[in-house]
């Protein structure tokens, strides 16, 4: 079973991506394009439902769906593709999403998790071959930062606070 980093803990993943053999009623993450293709099917889904955005899907389009969603996964196709950081902050700070926000894809490495958590990701599904223990330690690489950011990372000091969201 896949292990993920969730709120600083390494846990067994209780979600499945579409195509990983989910049973009716289980917790399932479906790509946005599938959600749009057959909205009726997913409205009737009895289990928990999550959606997976590619790095080019505009996060604003999800606004109306959010009440139905327990999880949003944002894809990082490579560590250099930084679009998902903006998507995460928009989901948390503008659209007010409070469910699980999960980083997924080949770009999710231990050297990214500090930034990911600071942008509001509370779940990190690491790329293949990444060591979850190293990733958990990487969350504590810095205990100070200049910018405001999500409380997913506990910091001793920050310079620029933000207005409460």
């Amino acid at each position: 079973m896949r292990r993920i980093l969730r709120r600083r803990e390494i846990v067994a993943d209780d979600w499945r991506h579409l195509g990983e053999g989910a049973e009716e009623g289980s917790a399932l993450i479906v790509p946005l394009v599938e959600l749009r293709k057959d909205p009726e099917r997913w409205r009737r889904w009895r289990g928990r439902l999550g959606v997976r955005l590619s790095s080019v899907d505009p996060v604003e389009e999800l606004a109306a769906d959010l009440p139905r969603l327990d999880l949003v996964a944002i894809e990082f196709p490579s560590p250099s593709d930084g679009r998902g950081y903006s998507a995460a902050r928009l989901l948390r700070e503008r659209l007010g999403f409070r469910g699980e926000l999960r980083a997924v894809g080949a770009g999710v490495r231990q050297d990214q998790v500090f930034l990911l958590a600071r942008c509001g990701f509370d779940a990190i599904e690491l790329a293949e071959n990444e060591d979850p223990d190293a990733a958990r330690r990487a969350l504590d690489r810095y205990d100070v930062a200049y910018q405001g950011g999500s409380r997913e990372v506990a910091l001793r000091r920050q310079r620029f606070s933000s207005r409460p969201g």
């Binding site: 503008r94 810095y142 205990d143 100070v144 000091r157 620029f160």
Partner: protein
């Protein structure tokens, strides 16, 4: 100057530890070169033609004497005893050993320095006018705002993996000495009718393959909105900038494809929506940072003629290598890194040590680096100028050619850089030799030569009065000449005058161009003004008049 507090120091210390771990994993084979590259680049480390290159950040070009002495020490112990100052006010070491870099960064951290974000697709060193705080015509000192932007941009959680590199320059004077209009964002300090500080914001400037002059996105941005507005611009860019083609990924391409009007609408809409969660810039924080840039404890002095009764060489140096200061009795003094026979911008460890010590004696212990690849002692008493000159002369740093044709900008070129198509340093030597007569240089007056070894344009050739671009022609080094570029006050891009010339012909071609100027100029008219008045054609004719080799 700015002093680190506990937060700043903890941050750079953690950064060194993080990079040490990344280097260890790379050397142990846990991080492939492809995986390591974006991580090392964000710490200033390139792998170049012959060796690694480390680009050390000098925020807005300001150094304390002990920091310059530390750079000298590092260059001596970890490199070959010299460094290269860049157009973005940083210092490059050309021969460090890969495995030594974490130790070098740890050394830098002991003097409140780092190499963070000097490369990679992130916000780079924020640059400023080298006369910041002392220019007589300044609206306000740009450096406190540069420092605030530096901190905000450092390991920004949202903007550390942008489509491409991102450069910001801030100026406080009407004359633009920081080339701000060819930056991704240029900020010009202004006061509104009520006297409140704010910025005119330019966006989408840049050189490289597609040179574009920045356009005004906002006439007046009040100071409290500085960070939130930058964040709105960066967010629109991060989301919509192209990532499919490296050559089209700079913000200038996004601005160009949308048009400035539509880009502005998107940024302003984003700014309105993001105010609830955007970073605050409290007045107390601005005051805290401004407190580090208060005027020096100047003595009450009067201006006097420091050149009276002195030798001609000192008089020439005074005229060309010093600048007016806003405080009577003081001058700003260039430390010229353009001595003939030397690579533009290069400085030895011994020279760095001696200049650090000179700065302690005559300029409040501070040194500035300039966009033109010289250093500057900002606050020298006029009565100390002669002593300063003697010392700079002894060090080979008093070449009285600042602002003349041989005060040229040149990137490291093919001798060092793995991107370059052609050498620049040999051509610089050739030009220095050809124009070695100071009286001739003075007669030519204010002419800027800027030279790049490839179209990435680190040497800013597009905005040189005379631009030189090295190109590769079937394995040979050739040079394309452009005329009419400018980066200060009236920013303009130069126009290529015709076919490129072989390496041996560069200085001769330039000589024919400046001879055309001498024939065409009105009394007292500068090169660039003659060029603007008569157009390119007479210069083109002059350049190729007796040039059978051109093809």
């Amino acid at each position: 100057m700015y002093q680190y507090d506990a937060l700043d120091q903890a941050f750079v210390d953690r950064r060194v530890a993080e990079f040490r771990d990344q280097m260890r994993r790379h050397l142990a084979g846990e991080l492939s070169e492809d995986e390591f590259r974006p991580l090392r680049l964000r710490n200033g480390l390139y792998v170049q033609r012959h060796a690694p290159m480390l680009r050390i950040a000098i925020p807005y070009g300001l150094l304390a004497a002990r920091q310059l002495a530390k750079l000298a020490d590092i260059a001596r112990r970890y490199d070959r005893g010299f460094g290269h100052f860049t157009t973005r006010q940083n210092l490059q070491l050309n021969w460090p050993k890969l495995a030594d870099v974490p130790d070098i960064l740890a050394e830098l951290a002991t003097v409140q320095m780092h190499a963070i974000q000097t490369s990679g697709n992130c916000v780079r060193n924020v640059t400023a006018d080298h006369l910041a705080g002392i220019a007589p015509d300044e609206v306000d000192d740009p450096r406190p705002y540069c420092e605030i932007i530096r901190q905000w941009a450092t390991l920004h959680p949202e903007f550390t993996y942008l489509p491409r590199k991102f450069k910001i320059a801030v100026t406080g004077s009407p004359e633009d000495r920081a080339a701000s209009e060819v930056h991704d964002i240029g900020l010009h300090l202004r006061r509104d009718a009520a006297g409140s500080i704010g910025f005119t914001v330019l966006v989408g400037g840049g050189l490289g393959r597609t040179p574009i002059i920045g356009q005004v996105i906002r006439d007046f941005l009040p100071l409290p909105g500085l960070l939130s507005y930058l964040e709105a611009i960066l967010r629109v860019y991060n989301r919509h900038g192209r990532r499919d083609n490296l050559n089209k990924a700079r913000i200038k391409i996004l601005v160009k494809s949308l048009g400035i009007e539509r880009f502005r609408e998107q940024v302003e809409a984003e700014w309105r929506l993001s105010r609830d969660s955007s970073p605050l810039l409290p007045a107390a924080e601005v005051e805290r940072v401004r407190g580090f840039f208060r005027p020096q404890p100047y003595e009450a002095l009067e201006d006097f003629d420091a050149t009276s009764g002195r030798e001609p060489r000192f008089k020439a140096w005074y005229r060309y290598n010093t600048r007016a200061h806003r405080v009577p009795g003081y001058r700003a003094v260039f430390v010229a890194l353009k001595a003939h026979g030397h690579n533009p911008g290069d400085m030895s460890s011994d020279q760095m040590d001696a200049v650090a010590s000179l700065a302690e004696r005559v300029s409040f212990g501070l040194i500035r680096t300039t966009h033109n690849q010289n250093l500057l002692l900002g606050d020298v008493r006029q009565q100390d100028l002669y002593e300063a000159w003697l010392e700079l002369e002894r060090l080979g740093l008093a070449m009285p050619n600042i602002g003349t044709l041989t005060d040229m900008i040149a990137c490291p070129g093919l001798d060092f850089c793995s991107l370059a198509n052609a050498g620049t340093l040999g051509v610089a030597r050739q030009i220095q030799e050809r124009f070695d007569d100071l009286d001739y240089l003075y007669d030519l007056g204010d002419i800027e030569i800027k030279m790049s070894g490839c179209m990435n344009a680190c040497g800013h050739h597009h905005v040189g009065h005379i631009g030189i671009l090295g190109v590769d022609k079937r394995g040979e080094e050739w040079y394309q000449i452009s005329l009419g570029g400018s980066a200060n006050g009236f920013t303009a891009l130069g126009e290529v005058i015709g076919p490129s010339v072989p390496k041996s012909e560069v200085a001769s071609t330039i000589e024919r161009i400046v001879e055309a100027y001498r024939a065409l100029r009105a009394d007292g008219e500068r090169f660039i003004d003659t060029l603007r008045r008569v157009g390119l054609e007479p210069f083109r004719e002059g350049a190729y008049a007796t040039h059978p080799a051109a093809a």
